[in-house]
């Protein structure tokens, strides 16, 4: 392609150059439309169509349309508790009487919502102080720490469960420490509390991340103005800073609710079947091949989570603050300059929080590291030796460490290359003004909210088995399909980190660029993207994390032995001995930590999610 210096050069090649430029200009003019079409095609091919093939089974039974599955589900107290009794036509008075007499029954769906609400509260309680520290204090390693807040996203639940057992179990680290102080022991495993803490382990970092970003983009001048008008620090926080944080806090909360509502392995590994959630039953019904009920249940799950997302998006649209922090608030040093009471009290609080964070976030990971170097007879490197041996002598059909690492990185890079443009284009489309756009936005978030097993089965039946047309079967399989599926899962995160930026941009900027003759795509790339770049970088970090941690669609789409990833290797290495799996878990942890720090540093010192 001719560069700018080739333009206007005479000679025989000129007509070609002209044509190339015309083609390029035409492409550029239509770039957004092309990307939108490409995104839609990919979503239809690898998400909506496959998922629809499964969900349709809830309303089409033996070729006839029916809503019987839903009717039955809604009237089943097993799922809907007292609500089901009302829907089944019992008198409200009788139900109310039972509830007042203390015989309330939540049902599986009610219980799932209940634990998700508690998980969200706990995640907020643990995430917000972290955001406060990261946004308001300066200390060595702050940036690295902020990069690493995304780490829990890649950790397979089995690893977290192992870490939690070693930390919070009867013989765990926590009880050992407590007994040294003459306290305890506490019984945490197999309780709702254990599940809630594990959910906080996954989601509090997310809350911290989005809130930190919002806090860092608060304009210091607004606070200074409030203070100069006589507001105390607390009042200034309540009236000036806090309103700018609410959208981010609510987004963290809404996503946490959605993720914990659809939770499955953590609940069963740390709580047991008595705490089983809706997703557990969706899995079971799918395993029994009872698709009618499984699909109906998955739709109920989807309706609830999409409802929460939709409510949040409505709120976000109304409350986005339309000014970006030109000058962020100055950070304080973690070590106080002059030890006055007002300086010391918040730092004391930080100290207490740091202890809690150490127990909840650091010790499970440390326990996992420790498990990877211990065997039946003390410290050993046997598990890492196993990985080396597997690499050297493993059979072709067996999972080996290096290809798993390589594939994970290649797939993550591919997913990144696809999901960033997809996410940006969807953000542009959903921040334009038209009726019902929040509905479109919510629907485009569906990959966050659909049950993983349903997506898996849908992919299997759709793209993997292929479609038969005129005697040919068109099938999508292998590495490219995995990358595309990862991109579909990742792009909602890009949208959620980029869209609020677009929303708060001054539209006159784009109008001016357009008036000066820039195409819509050029205005996007040259004007808008640099302004929302921190959000794009944050989206990239999320996309990488999701792709590296992805399990369910990878295992369905990996048709050959050269397509498995690190999480699949971990799953395969679990047997009666934990060692090899934890060693592989440590490899995963190391590889992804390095990736995140690199990605975050690419964002420069700028503020962003």
């Amino acid at each position: 392609m001719g560069g700018p210096n080739a333009e206007g050069a005479g000679g025989p090649s000129e007509p070609d150059d002209g044509r190339a430029r015309r083609v390029r200009d035409a492409l550029e003019r239509r770039a957004i439309a092309l990307f939108a079409a490409g995104t839609t095609l990919l979503l239809v091919l690898l998400f909506y169509y496959p998922v629809a093939t499964v969900l349709i089974e809830s309303v089409v039974v033996e070729g006839a349309f029916t809503l019987a599955a839903f009717a039955e589900l809604l009237r089943d107290p097993f799922y809907f508790g007292d609500l089901a009794r009302l829907l089944a036509g019992e008198s409200p008075r009788a139900v109310a009487g039972d509830v007042l007499a203390g015989q309330r029954r939540l049902g599986i769906v009610g219980f799932t919502a209940y634990q998700a609400a508690l998980s969200t509260l706990l995640s907020l309680a643990l995430g917000l102080p972290a955001a406060y520290v990261l946004a308001r204090y300066e200390f060595r390693g702050r940036k690295t720490l902020r990069s690493l807040t995304i780490l829990p996203f890649v950790l397979p639940s089995i690893m977290v469960a192992i870490g939690f057992v070693a930390t919070f179990g009867q013989n765990g680290t926590l009880n050992a420490v407590l007994s040294a102080f003459g306290l305890g022991p506490v019984e945490l495993l197999f309780t709702l509390e254990a599940v809630l803490i594990a959910h906080a382990f996954y989601n509090a970092p997310l809350v911290a991340r989005v809130t930190t970003a919002a806090w860092e983009s608060v304009d210091a001048r607004t606070v200074e103005t409030a203070r100069s008008l006589g507001a105390g620090p607390f009042r200034a926080f309540r009236d000036v800073i806090a309103p700018q944080l609410y959208p981010a806090v609510l987004m963290g909360g809404a996503l946490t609710f959605v993720f914990t509502f659809g939770t499955f392995p953590i609940v069963l590994a740390l709580g047991g079947f008595e705490l089983a959630t809706v997703e557990v039953f969706v899995y079971q019904l799918v395993r029994e091949l009872n698709y009618t009920e499984a699909a109906a249940l998955a739709i109920v799950e989807l309706a609830i989570t999409l409802g929460v997302l939709y409510a949040y998006l409505r709120y976000e649209a109304k409350h986005t603050v339309r000014s970006r922090g030109v000058r962020p608030l100055p950070r304080k040093s973690l070590l106080p300059a002059n030890p006055s009471l007002r300086e010391l009290v918040p730092r004391l609080g930080i100290g207490v929080y740091a202890l809690v964070a150490l127990v909840v976030f650091v010790s499970p990971i440390a326990s996992m590291l420790y498990t990877s170097v211990t065997g039946p007879s003390g410290l050993t490197l046997d598990h890492y030796r196993f990985l080396m041996e597997r690499q050297a002598t493993g059979a072709a059909f067996q999972v080996q460490p290096w290809p798993a690492i390589r594939n994970s990185l290649v797939f993550a890079a591919g997913a990144l290359a696809l999901s960033l443009p997809m996410g940006v284009v969807v953000s542009v489309l959903t921040t334009r003004r038209y009726r019902g756009r929040k509905l479109v936005d919510a629907v485009s978030m569906a990959p966050l909210a659909v049950s993983g097993i349903i997506v898996g089965i849908g992919l299997l039946r759709g793209p993997v088995f292929g479609v038969e047309i005129a005697g040919w079967r068109f099938a999508v399989g292998g590495a490219v399909a995995i990358v595309a599926a990862h991109a579909v899962t990742c792009y909602p995160f890009v949208v959620r980190t980029v869209a609020p930026g677009f929303e708060s941009l001054d539209h006159r900027l784009i109008e001016s660029a357009r008036a000066l003759g820039a195409s819509r795509a050029r205005a996007l790339v040259d004007i808008e993207l640099p302004l929302v770049w921190p959000g794009v970088v944050a989206g990239a970090a999320f996309a990488t994390a999701i792709s590296i941690g992805e399990f369910s669609s990878t295992i369905v789409l990996a048709t050959g032995t050269d397509q498995y990833t690190m999480p699949i290797a971990i799953e395969r290495f679990i047997g009666r001995r934990l060692g090899p799996a934890t060693a592989m878990g440590v490899v995963l942890l190391f590889v992804s930590s390095v990736s995140f720090v690199i990605i975050d540093r690419l964002g420069g010192e700028s503020f962003g999610l």
Binding site: L189, P421, F465
Partner: protein, 356 residues
């Protein structure tokens, strides 16, 4: 600069997107007589400790001068049920390693035949297979290996539970873990065992009592075993040959003790079936005969830690010494499972998870 990468990445993505699709003629009959594809579950060929898959592949290839290909889809037998129902065709000749309850699932969810009958006349070693291991009334499942569900307990910290009632003793409160019967095999075997013990009328009462005693129901046998290894729970539902593994792996045998409740254990048999779509009957039969031969049965016993079905097998010493085999195994046959399994499981899940 950024614009360039932005546009180019899109073009590249479209290009690889197209490259990832494949289109094949539907009647693609590239059946290769020199390759035998066998489907099984993952850990049969790829376990961190040891698994028989690799040895079987090498040995069979050498003896028969063919290539053996393992297929291990994550959804195991459900994957082939799906393929059958979607009419997509099944590549492997046979599936190795399914249990009676899985065969029930196959039959309830497929129209027509997923598996077809064996021609036992063509199998040299079939006569030596113990009759008691046959579980398919239609002779599509050839017994392959057996195992028994039993209690494994940490002999250093708790006393041996000898009966089902013992498990309700306050001594074991919060000390017992088992896998979810709807998901994990051992959990299902234990549930069936309790139904055999207490009858259809009584098993739910027994489970209520177990729940009162704070029994832990986790997702899979792997989760349960993790808790046992980490010494969080000293009593688990596992397999009667646990000590074979413990001995081989250098674990403390006092920690790995096995209890056969009432001197019984629930039998689980794994079978292999020949896909009805198969195109190479001869090779499939050769493979089956190979698996049933005493020599291979002994290797499977050692590397898969499961018992042989061929009565002529010379058991490896470690197996002979450490595996416990009940005199009188408990089990439900295919017809009983076919008729009742769904009801039994639904009843169970109502009692355990329904009270919220």
């Amino acid at each position: 600069m950024r614009r360039r990468t932005f546009l180019e990445s899109g073009v590249a993505a479209t290009a690889i997107g197209l490259a990832g699709c494949s289109a094949n003629p539907v009647d693609d009959d590239d059946a290769d007589d020199d390759t035998l594809a066998v489907a099984t579950y993952g850990s049969f060929v790829d376990a961190p400790s040891d698994s028989p898959g690799e040895w079987i592949k090498d040995e069979f290839e050498e003896r028969h001068d063919v290539t053996l290909e393992w297929h291990t889809p994550d959804q195991e037998i459900n994957y082939y049920i799906e393929r059958h129902n979607e009419d997509v065709g099944i590549e492997p000749e046979l599936y190795l390693g399914f249990s009676p309850h899985e065969l029930v699932r196959v039959d309830r969810n497929t129209e027509g035949e997923l598996f077809t009958e064996w021609d036992e006349g063509g199998l040299e070693h079939a006569d030596d297979v113990d009759e008691e291991f046959y579980f398919d009334p239609q002779d599509r499942a050839l017994p392959t290996y057996s195992s028994y569900c039993a209690i494994v307990y940490d002999g250093r910290t708790v006393a041996e539970p000898e009966t089902f009632e013992d498990l309700l003793d306050p001594e074991y409160e919060g000390q017992i873990a088992l896998s979810n019967p709807q998901e994990g095999t051992t959990g299902l075997l234990f549930l069936l065992w309790t139904i055999d013990q207490f009858g259809e009328e009584g098993y739910l009462d027994y489970w209520e009592a177990l729940l009162e005693n704070d029994v832990r129901i986790l997702d899979s046998w792997g989760d349960v075993y993790t808790q046992f290894e980490e010494e969080e729970v000293p009593v688990i539902v596992s397999y009667s040959n646990d000590r074979v593994y413990a001995e081989r792996d250098g674990n403390d045998l006092e920690k790995h003790r096995v209890s056969l409740l009432n001197d019984e254990a629930y039998a689980n048999v794994s079978g292999m079936g020949r896909f009805a779509d198969g195109t190479n009957d001869e090779l499939a039969h050769e493979f089956a005969d190979f698996v049933l031969s005493p020599e291979v049965q002994a290797v499977i016993a050692e590397r898969n830690v499961t018992g042989p079905v061929n009565t002529e097998t010379d058991l490896p010493e470690v197996y002979e010494e450490y595996a416990q085999i009940p005199d009188d195994p408990v089990f439900f046959d295919y017809d009983e499972l076919d008729e009742n399994l769904e009801t039994w499981l639904d009843g169970w899940s109502d009692v355990v998870a329904g009270g919220r």
